[in-house]
């Protein structure tokens, strides 16, 4: 125990601790003699009462606690039962209803940590339970009341990324009546979905269902689209974010441009179109991203522009402005939703399955652009080497997914994507032979299994195996040597074209926004949610939400659901107009603080600052209560409330205290 803090609270009032030992039916009582524990605990100093309940968390149990607080004038409550990770909020609310500060409540785990793991050692379990509760009593004696505070919330939202997820989130928030800034790094909203041909399981034309959504977003009076823009800086905390956005120069005045394409026709510079067409087909130096783009405006790629002025001459509205500069906006928002999407896995560096070595090995995204009716080949599926329709097409699944050499996760949409692509080929070119080389077919959701059955009925060949070796012959046909593990037969499959069903990876370009916001990264490289089961779109940072591919590979219906989920989670703050901050935070004793500033860089939430007078300033709204700064502080001036040194050490001491047997 330290000399600094005493064992009583500030007002030096008499401690009256109430201990409630739960039997949890037989879950605890089966191994722990709860009555013996209660008897023992009631002999400890400061314990006013120690009782046994059958189910402390039940209404009856909670009522008993509230009654005891009032009748016995308890000022600390201890419950010994299951894990605080489930019921701590319930009991804190319970004691608060009875008029006691919720942080004067202590939870001891004698179920998961005791009765369930010493099921047949009753004596040991009971002795251990006594010790655990004794530790809890010692800590309860030192607990102090804490308050969470309220911060006001600016009633505007920022959605970063205008793919289908971001668009959905923006629409939902906008429809609820709140202003949304929708920032998109590319020149048009729509994301990857705009590049797809058809979407499973309905085989709807992608842009046909996306296009109207894009128009809706554009027309929504509450949504301000900031295209070709990027977030540069974010400061502040939930409810009060200061965001700096850079609007990149298009060298085209978007208020004058109508997207008529006159400039594009005249431009003499032509290069492969990577950004939208996967390098198939070309674009000009000045270009409109795609026919359904929103905003439907041109932009100039100055890295290849030769400054000939043809576009300026062609434009009747004088929209070309070669001297345009980047501009900046400062936004104040209350919540941030991050839906920055994915990149397809690139099989080029490792030449997976011959990609990059043989012309006729392509990715599914390239395939989408080929079969898309408004794509560079107007929907004709042709193979790269001789621009001839391939009669035999093979799909290889799990490229860049489920692979220890690249990514071990499953990208979740690739099975369905190949089933769809295979079906489309068979529909368009009924005389083709289509093969799908797979490890497992994953078709879990609504209508997905039926979709799989449909593909099988269409005489598509399924080979359960992965090509062990891929070569090309003198006609540049692809030879895939593969074992069908269901028939145990090895064959050299000759294909005119092979399509790699590539998975999703987190784009490198999103690293910047991830670091600006300080969102954690999960093991698979995508951004990390607060809890994979219970909080799939929250992050550990209040007021910042992630959805869609940003939170991991998924398909369109799942992405749209998450877009709406983000909107719902975000609007909680906007609707209430205020946010509650963490009650467990940090406090500094200024008499002890020697201004060494070791603590300041420790905080990952930037909650610590030295103010102009050289004193330590704690931004309580940002503090999440991890306590790492308190460990770094050499003097002990920084203390984490609810986990102060004396509170922790009191528990340690009680482990070894002498017990009257």
């Amino acid at each position: 125990m330290t000399q600094q803090e005493s064992t009583t609270n500030e007002e030096a009032e008499e401690l009256r601790i109430g201990a409630f030992i739960c039997e949890c039916g037989v879950n605890i009582a089966g191994a722990v003699d709860c009555n013996a524990v209660a008897d023992y605990i009631s002999t400890l100093p400061n314990v006013t009462t120690a009782v046994v309940n059958k189910y402390t968390c039940s209404d009856a149990g909670q009522d008993e606690i509230k009654k005891a607080i009032k009748e016995l004038d308890l000022n600390r409550v201890l419950v010994a039962s299951c894990t605080p990770k489930t019921h701590e909020p319930i009991f804190r609310a319970c004691v608060e209803e009875a008029g006691l500060n919720p942080y004067l409540f202590e939870f001891v785990n004698i179920r998961e940590h005791c009765s369930w793991i010493h099921m047949w050692e009753k004596e040991d379990a009971t002795r251990k339970a006594k010790e655990l509760v004794r530790m809890g009593v010692a800590r309860a004696a030192l607990l102090e009341p804490l308050q969470s505070s309220e911060v006001p919330v600016t009633n505007k939202a920022l959605v970063i990324g205008a793919g289908v997820t971001g668009m959905q989130a923006a629409m939902d928030i906008g429809d609820m009546g709140f202003q949304v800034y929708l920032v998109e790094a590319g020149p048009s909203i729509g994301g990857k979905m705009a590049q797809l041909d058809k979407t499973f399981p309905t085989n709807d034309c992608s842009i046909c269902i996306l296009g109207p959504k894009m128009v809706e977003v554009n027309r929504n009076p509450n949504i301000e689209i900031m295209s070709y823009s990027e977030v540069e800086e974010v400061d502040g905390y939930v409810g009060n974010f200061d965001v700096k956005v850079k609007h990149k120069a298009r060298y085209v005045d978007i208020d004058l441009c109508t997207g008529c394409n006159s400039c594009v026709e005249k431009c003499p510079v032509e290069v492969p179109y990577w950004e939208f067409n996967e390098g198939i087909g070309t674009r000009k130096a000045v270009y409109v991203p795609f026919p359904q783009a929103v905003p439907l405006r041109a932009l100039i790629d100055k890295s290849i522009c030769i400054d000939c002025g043809a576009c300026s001459k062609a434009c009747e509205r004088g929209a070309i402005n070669m001297d345009q500069e980047d501009t900046f906006s400062d936004l104040e928002v209350g919540v941030i939703v991050v839906c920055v999407g994915y990149d397809v896995y690139d099989p080029e560096p490792n030449h997976d399955f011959g990609f990059g070595l043989y012309d006729n090995v392509i990715t599914t995204m390239e395939f989408e652009r080929l079969i898309n009716a408004s794509g560079p080949t107007m929907g004709k599926v042709v193979r790269p080497s001789d621009v001839v329709q391939p009669k035999r097409i093979g799909f290889v699944q799990c490229v860049g997914s489920r692979d220890v050499n690249s990514n071990i996760y499953c990208s979740s949409f690739c099975c369905m994507a190949s089933l769809k692509n295979a079906q489309l080929i068979k529909e368009k070119y009924p005389d083709s032979e289509v093969y799908i080389m797979y490890m497992d077919m994953r078709t879990p959701f609504r209508m997905y299994e039926e979709f799989y059955n449909r593909a099988r009925d269409m005489d598509i060949h399924f080979i359960r195996g992965r090509p062990a070796e891929v070569t090309e012959n003198e006609d540049q046909n692809i030879i895939a040597r593969i074992e069908d593990t269901l028939t145990n037969k090895i064959e050299n499959l000759e294909l005119d074209m092979m399509v790699l069903s590539v998975g999703a990876v987190s784009p490198e370009s999103t690293e910047k926004i991830r670091q600006i916001l300080k969102v954690s990264r999960a093991a698979d490289g995508f951004m990390m949610e607060a809890h994979p089961k219970l909080k799939p779109v929250d992050t550990t940072l209040d007021g910042i939400f992630i959805g869609g591919m940003t939170q991991g590979p998924k398909d369109i219906p799942y992405s749209i659901s998450q877009g709406s989920a983000c909107a719902a989670r975000a609007t909680r703050f906007l609707a209430q107009g205020k946010a509650l901050t963490e009650g467990i935070t940090i406090a500094v004793d200024e008499d002890i603080c020697v201004r060494c500033e070791v603590c300041v860089p420790m905080c990952p939430f930037q909650a610590l600052k030295m103010d102009d007078d050289g004193k330590l300033e704690i931004i309580t709204a940002l503090c999440k209560g991890c306590g790492t700064c308190a460990v770094a502080c050499p003097t002990g001036a920084l203390q984490q409330s609810h986990y102060k040194n004396n509170q922790i050490l009191a528990q340690v001491k009680e482990v070894f205290a002498y017990e009257e047997v």
């Binding site: 040991d124 954690s520 550990t540 306590g627 790492t628 984490q640 040194n645 002498y658």
Partner: protein, 143 residues
């Protein structure tokens, strides 16, 4: 040294709320039986564990002290466990220099879903510590 068969070590385990405490819970939910040697002390983040808490535990009589938290990269507070790892280097170096047996101090990252792993860890450490006997720093009269 006391009769080893009867003597049970007392192990203090500092667990972080989000991962390793959850791992201990999952061990319980999975009914992975363990010796009654361990007393879990909950903190919000493994980064809250001051090496001085570890010393204190030894001086009070702990036969072993466990510092546990989330796997690197998984910390609920972004990088708390990385700070733990740094401080642990100092702690480990000091404990080695002091001559305390290395079996008495462990750092382990355990996620909330790794119940069996937690149980195995406790079983292993308890068995090892039983072999080497009570801590030389244990005060007289403390069991």
């Amino acid at each position: 040294m006391a009769d080893n068969n009867d003597w049970e070590p007392k192990i203090v385990a500092f667990c972080c709320n989000w991962c390793s405490y959850g791992g201990a819970d999952t061990a319980g939910m999975g009914r992975f039986q363990q010796p009654a040697s361990t007393r879990v002390i909950r903190v919000m983040c493994s980064g809250r564990i001051d090496p001085l808490h570890v010393y204190n535990a030894f001086l009070e009589g702990a036969d072993a002290v466990l510092v546990t938290g989330c796997h690197l990269g998984d910390c609920h507070y972004v990088n708390g466990n990385e700070k733990t790892e740094l401080k642990y280097q100092f702690l480990e170096e000091m404990v080695k220099q002091l001559g305390l047996e290395p079996e008495r101090l462990h750092l382990n990252w355990i996620s909330a879903s790794e119940g069996e792993r937690f149980a195995n860890f406790i079983n292993d450490v308890t068995a090892k510590v039983k072999e080497i006997g009570p801590s030389p720093l244990k005060p007289e009269g403390v069991s």
